[in-house]
Amino acid sequence: MTQASDPRALQTLVGLGVLALALALGAGAVSIPSAAGYGGVGPNFLPWLIAGGLAVSGLMIVREARTGGFRNMEAPSGALTGHWSAFAWVSAGLLANAALITTIGFILSCAICYLLAAQGLRRAAGQAGLGPRTLAVDLATGCAIAAPVFWTFTQFLAINLPGITGTGWL
């Protein structure tokens, strides 16, 4: 993977990302009026200051990356290369949740999110023989966690979470 072979290129990208953010903030700051009222500074002062600060930080990060890599960097924990298929499973779970929660309700949507994430994490951990049985187990576990959570929050704490029905139980 690129990460193992050339950390500096990726570190440079991180710096460029910070620079891009600075530019975006600066571009947004142009349209904020500077009217300061009673002699103070206006609402556009801090945006400019932050944009400037981020630009300087971005440049310095790029410089560190190009001249020997980040300083005082703690080696990141875990493997050198990412397990991207596991990452995709978990991502799918989170995004499916966002897409489904209003239509199929909190319990089912969270159970699906749990199922996909658990499957991804099981693969990351190198578990073998993930057949339909683990799928069923994960789906059931997801429901078993999501349902009591849903009831606790909707019934006892009166927090609005979406259900398929309006009863607050399903």
């Binding site: 953010l21 989170l94 704490l157």
Partner: protein, 504 residues
């Protein structure tokens, strides 16, 4: 003095109502669980539960949150003593000796000294809060916008530049947090900034989203990406018992740890890293003969007792700057500040006059919480240890369900869940490239307040920034900020050098 006692007694009267006791107990238990479980900390636990501020009464919810805040400190030591997580716990001082003690069959003694030490330090530090907070508040009333602004700058400086590995990456993280804080309506002029015509953005970005995204979702994604194949081993539990000799060695270490930790929490300088390291270094230096020989080999009990006490003392007295000045110095206190804001309460010097009942009930609940936690963590430690047996895939997938409650429960918007995923990705990136996350949260919450103070200050100075130099108090604060930038660096280098020289 009698005023304080009377106020405290009234606080106890409020805190011991059955409902509030129950909130405290649930908070402490939840906090312990959160502390024990890897991958989820007190900051994210409080953040996920922020939606309850919409319905639950302010006193009850603050008692509940304080219990989580507190309990997590107790629970955390259990994990660092029993679990050999490669890489991660090495950063925690308790783990250095505690883990060695556990390996040589003394896990029970290590857990006992950690729990009792936390209780001793937490209680003494709560007394410090009780006695000093009202005076700090009285003094703080006299501060004007320039001084307030500089206090916040002090908090920004310590959280971003002093703690963590790199000042550059800390500052970048802080600026990122400040930038997120800009989104929404400007507090002074009412001008919309960076909303791009999206009505939801007028209210700004919810703290829950950022905290849960950066800590919980990022943690799960990171675990899937990089840590699946990391295998942890657990140390065997032994009977929770301390011998007479253990007591003799622990008591002075608890007291010294408390004495080192308490002042660090009081100043808005944040972080438990420096006081725990200092306490560890002090214990090692004071140990003699056989005891000294145990450091780094069989595991010395002082090396667990001291830092654990220092940690709890710092965490407790950190409530002084939070309650009296409205200045958070860690992730969790920043989110507690957010919880206050959800009730329309701005912690600060006026809190002790306008919300006296709330403050004193909260302080009283700290005393009660400490006792509850001692019971929860000593006789019942076996229950918590079982939590360590939950396999990682199921645990992390389960965390996502709770993350959904927090993120969705706040605004009932499915779009927030997409945003949550995006912030999670950002968190993975930050973790991989060693950017600290605390400055993002502190910057985001404190940024808008700091901006308002700064603009008021400049308005007082009739448009001139010289106002910060013209007032003796603010000039003094500038000096403190400079000192805070320089001193901890020297201290930390020294502690590290000692540590390297001793263990080398």
């Amino acid at each position: 003095m009698t005023d304080i006692l009377q106020a405290l007694l009234q606080g106890f009267a409020a805190a011991v109502s059955p409902a509030n006791l129950l909130w405290a107990l649930v908070g402490c238990a939840l906090g312990t669980a959160v502390g024990v479980l890897p991958g989820i900390g007190p900051a994210v636990a409080v953040a996920m539960l922020l939606p309850i501020t919409a319905k639950v009464d302010v006193t009850a919810s603050m008692i509940f949150f304080a219990g989580i805040y507190y309990g997590a400190m107790y629970g955390g030591s259990t994990t660092s003593i029993l679990l050999n997580t490669p890489g991660e716990t090495a950063s925690m001082v308790t783990a250095m000796e505690g883990n060695r003690m556990a390996k040589s069959g003394r896990a029970g003694a290590a857990l006992a000294t950690a729990a009792i030490g936390s209780f001793v330090a937490g209680t003494i530090a709560t007394v410090v809060v009780t006695l000093f907070a009202p005076y700090v508040a009285e003094f703080a009333v006299k501060l004007g916008p320039p001084e307030y602004f500089l206090l916040m700058v002090l908090a920004f400086t310590t959280v971003s530049a002093v703690l963590g590995q790199s000042t550059l990456r800390g500052m970048t993280a802080l600026l990122l947090g400040l930038a997120i804080g800009l989104i929404g309506l400007d507090q002074i002029s009412g001008q919309a900034r960076y909303t791009y015509g999206v009505p939801e953005l007028l209210d700004g970005i919810e703290i829950v989203l950022v905290a849960v995204g950066l800590f919980a979702v990022a943690e799960v994604l990171y675990a899937a990406l990089y840590e699946g194949r990391v295998h942890e081993t657990r140390n065997r539990m032994s009977r929770v018992h301390m011998t007479a000799r253990d007591w003799k060695r622990s008591i002075p270490a608890w007291l010294r740890g408390t004495a080192i930790g308490a002042p660090f929490g009081c100043i808005p300088a944040g972080g438990t890293e420096i006081p725990t390291f200092l306490s560890y270094a002090a214990e090692k230096r004071l140990a003699k003969g056989e005891d000294l020989a145990e450091f780094g080999h069989k595991g010395a009990i002082e090396g667990v007792a001291g830092p654990e006490a220092a940690n709890n003392a710092t965490v407790t007295t950190a409530l002084i700057p939070l309650l009296t000045l409205g200045i958070p110095t860690s992730n969790t206190t920043a989110i507690l500040l957010g919880a206050f804001q959800n009730y329309g309460i701005n912690p600060g010097p006026q809190l002790f006059t306008t919300s006296a009942a709330l403050v004193w009930a909260l302080i009283a609940s700290l005393y009660i919480g400490n006792v509850m936690l001692l019971v929860l963590n000593l006789p019942m430690v076996g229950i918590w240890v079982k939590l360590l047996k939950i396999p990682k895939p199921q645990l992390y997938a389960g965390i996502l369900i709770f993350a959904t409650v927090g993120a969705y429960g706040m605004r009932q918007s499915a779009f927030d869940l997409v945003l949550l995923y995006g912030i999670g990705l950002l968190g993975v990136l930050m973790r991989r490239y060693d950017f600290p996350t605390a400055p993002v949260v502190v910057g985001m919450i404190l940024g808008p307040l700091a901006e308002a103070q700064m603009r008021n200050a400049v308005a007082i100075g009739e448009g001139s920034f010289l106002v910060f130099l013209q007032r003796p108090l603010s000039l003094g604060m500038i000096a403190i900020i400079l000192a805070v930038l320089v001193l901890p660096r020297l201290l930390r280098n020294r502690v590290r050098r000692d540590h390297a020289a001793d263990s080398g």
